[in-house]
């Protein structure tokens, strides 16, 4: 007779993601039985309630630090802070999608529950301290994301996005499983504690192979060069609200997963993976920025810019100290607000007939919709990294942690890359404020939920930029117990 290990710590650690998943299931049933009328928002609100339940659990647990399920599932500052990023991006996605989907003619109300399932998957990834649990979290998140990308079934671009994402994502999953098998074969364990214990006596070739396979698999999810080829097409083809979720939530989950796996589970191998990440970080930021320069479509430009930001984040991972871990977590926070906001503005520009997300469509926006142009300007300046906005703070602490650990070249290359990025972000601002509009004014719809989400994103971008220290201290403290 085996004792089932299930106590208070277990209940507490699974509470946040379970509440979100259960909220998704209730919303799913609600969508079946609720009255079907155009403009109904009940499913959206049911889903928001699920996210809110997860948020309440997360906030109530802030500060606790417990190992559960034999140390394979973490309840600590990192997982809780990451939960806040995931819940924030999911909630904003739901608000932004309301109205946006209907104007495109998407009636599938499973959209909202699927966003909740994806969020639950991200939360599992953020807390996983076992490769099997990490794998299951990735799969929950990815399966939902594949479907969300293709939810606009009448649009060939959306279908193409879903198919590309699915086929390549399944391929990346193979790498993940081979990597897990390599570590299991070499160390006899899949839990991070077990792997750490077995590293010393494991054959080196298997470890190097395993690290390489895991870097490919997780690099795919985080859109790191050279595993980024799917990103522009998928981000551009998917409905913009889904793109926002993918470029914030999915990427953040991948980075929290990477950070925990490499800094904690594979910490003793840091000399091997730090070099890999150093090269990949520089490659990722440079390729993302250079390709973003030549894009005429703002949504596609933001896709490349999100690749560049993955490079900055990876630079933080490469540095690998607890200071850098805290900086990565803070960066994810700042990145969430400004990126969700920028995609939200693109949603606001779209009408039922046309997405209106080319650079030419944004010309003269300041005359037509000054508030929207103002919000977009704040998000873009923040993405550039202009103080005192959030984006500056995020970059600053990554650079600071790199310099602190003696990685000067990485810091210099990061700063140079931000300078390149300024060019294409400013081009959009110039188009909005200094150029004359082309064509007639599109028949814009008023969307109160979207407006509220944009307001929240703007406030977040400014506030995190002005008062980063609370979050930063918390994040650094959270990583201090992980990096050993």
């Amino acid at each position: 007779m085996i004792q089932v290990p299930f106590g208070t710590a277990e209940w507490q650690s699974i509470a946040p993601f379970s509440l979100v998943a259960i909220g998704g299931m209730i919303a799913l049933l609600w969508a079946v039985f609720a009255e079907e009328r155009p403009g109904t928002t009940s499913v959206m609100w049911m889903s928001q309630a699920g996210l809110a339940a997860g948020l309440v659990a997360t906030i109530a647990l802030l500060g606790s630090e417990k190992a559960s399920f034999g140390g394979t599932f973490a309840l600590d500052g990192v997982s809780l802070l990451a939960n806040l990023v995931f819940l924030l991006s999911a909630s904003m996605t739901l608000f932004m999608a309301q109205g946006h989907l209907e104007s495109m003619g998407v009636r599938a109300r499973e959209f909202y529950p699927l966003v909740l399932f994806a969020t639950a998957g991200m939360m599992i990834m953020g807390a996983a301290r076992d490769l099997v649990i990490l794998f299951l979290g990735i799969e929950v998140m990815s399966l939902a994301a594949y479907v969300l990308a293709g939810i606009h079934r009448r649009d060939p671009g959306s279908t193409e996005a879903a198919l590309k994402y699915f086929v390549l994502g399944a391929f990346a999953t193979c790498f993940l499983l081979y990597g897990i098998a390599a570590f299991y074969g070499a160390t006899g364990a899949t839990s991070y504690d077990g792997i750490r214990a077995g590293l010393a006596s494991a054959p080196r070739a298997a470890l190097i192979g395993g690290v390489a396979l895991l870097v490919v698999a997780l690099g795919f999810k985080a859109a790191i060069v050279p595993f980024q080829a799917w990103t522009p097409d998928v981000y551009q083809g998917a409905p913009t609200a889904v793109t926002a979720l993918m470029s914030v939530g999915v990427k953040a989950a991948a980075f929290v997963g990477i950070t925990r796996l490499f800094l904690d589970g594979l910490g003793p191998l840091h000399q091997d993976w730090q070099r890999i990440f150093w090269v990949l970080a520089v490659l990722t930021m440079t390729v993302g920025n250079v390709f973003a320069l030549v894009q005429g479509n703002v949504k596609r430009m933001l896709a490349y810019s999100s690749i560049a930001h993955a490079g900055y984040l990876l630079a933080g991972v490469a540095v690998g100290t607890s200071r850098a871990g805290g900086a990565v977590l803070l960066y994810l926070f700042t990145y969430a607000f400004m990126t969700l906001g920028a995609f939200g503005v693109l949603i606001a520009l779209g009408t039922g007939e046309k997405p209106n997300d080319d650079l030419d469509d944004l010309r003269g926006l300041a005359d037509r919709r000054p508030l929207l142009a103002g919000a977009m300007t704040i998000f873009l300046l923040s993405l550039t990294g202009i103080p005192p906005l959030a984006g500056f703070v995020g970059k600053f602490y990554v650079v600071e942690s790199a310099v602190n650990a003696g990685w000067f070249w990485l810091a210099i290359l990061l700063v140079l890359n931000s300078a390149i990025a300024a060019y294409y972000y400013l081009a959009v601002i110039v188009a909005m404020w200094m150029r004359d509009p082309i064509g007639d004014e599109p028949a814009w719809e008023s969307r109160p939920y979207l407006a509220a989400a944009l307001l929240a994103a703007t406030v977040g971008t400014v506030l995190v930029g002005l008062f980063p220290s609370g979050t930063l201290d918390f994040a650094r403290h959270a990583f201090a117990s992980i990096v050993r």
């Binding site: 599932f73 009636r107 699927l114 399932f117 639950a120 299951l136 939902a144 479907v147 293709g150």
Partner: protein
């Protein structure tokens, strides 16, 4: 003696099936050859003392996935006429690549420090592995076991969303 003979017979059966999958001109024959491979693999699991895995292999792969593959082939119009070989890569580069991977795998096989787990197999032969797996699912692997159900639920919902008749206004 009989044990060894049986093992080699099943191994041969498996490999012959694999050759059939790779070299058949017709996709339907490939699918049927795959059945031999999968059955043979189930037999090899029995030799390893993994009775549960052998049963799952039979139920899921032979009983489920293979039948699904056959249905897909039979229901797809004119698929048996399709040239299955990949034209992008010629035969010689392919041979080189396969040779390289084969040598790498053979080297790994020879040099790997294999753990001979005689006692594990003997223990499994006594009471089977099913008990242990069941205990593990409700003990140390409780969380992954439960998480797998969320994966399946998401996949089911997703499949329905993407494949049903579209709701229109």
């Amino acid at each position: 003696m009989i044990y060894a003979a049986l093992f080699y017979a099943i191994a041969l059966f498996t490999v012959a099936g694999a050759f059939g999958v790779a070299f058949s001109e017709n996709v339907v024959y490939s699918a049927f050859s795959l059945m031999a491979t999968l059955l043979g693999a189930a037999g090899l699991y029995v030799f390893l003392g993994a009775d549960f895995l052998a049963a799952v292999q039979l139920l899921v792969y032979v009983g489920g996935i293979l039948v699904l593959t056959l249905f897909a082939i039979m229901l797809t119009h004119q698929i048996s006429d399709v040239e299955v070989s990949n034209r992008a890569v010629g035969r010689w580069p392919a041979l080189g690549l396969v040779g390289f991977v084969g040598i790498a795998m053979a080297t790994a096989l020879v040099r790997a420090p294999w753990k001979v787990s005689g006692e594990v197999v003997a223990k499994a032969a006594g009471e089977g592995t099913t008990y242990g797996i069941g205990d593990a699912f409700l003990g140390p692997f409780l969380l992954p076991f439960e998480l797998a159900s969320i994966v399946l639920l998401t996949a089911l919902v997703g499949a329905i969303v993407l494949s049903r008749k579209e709701i229109r206004d």
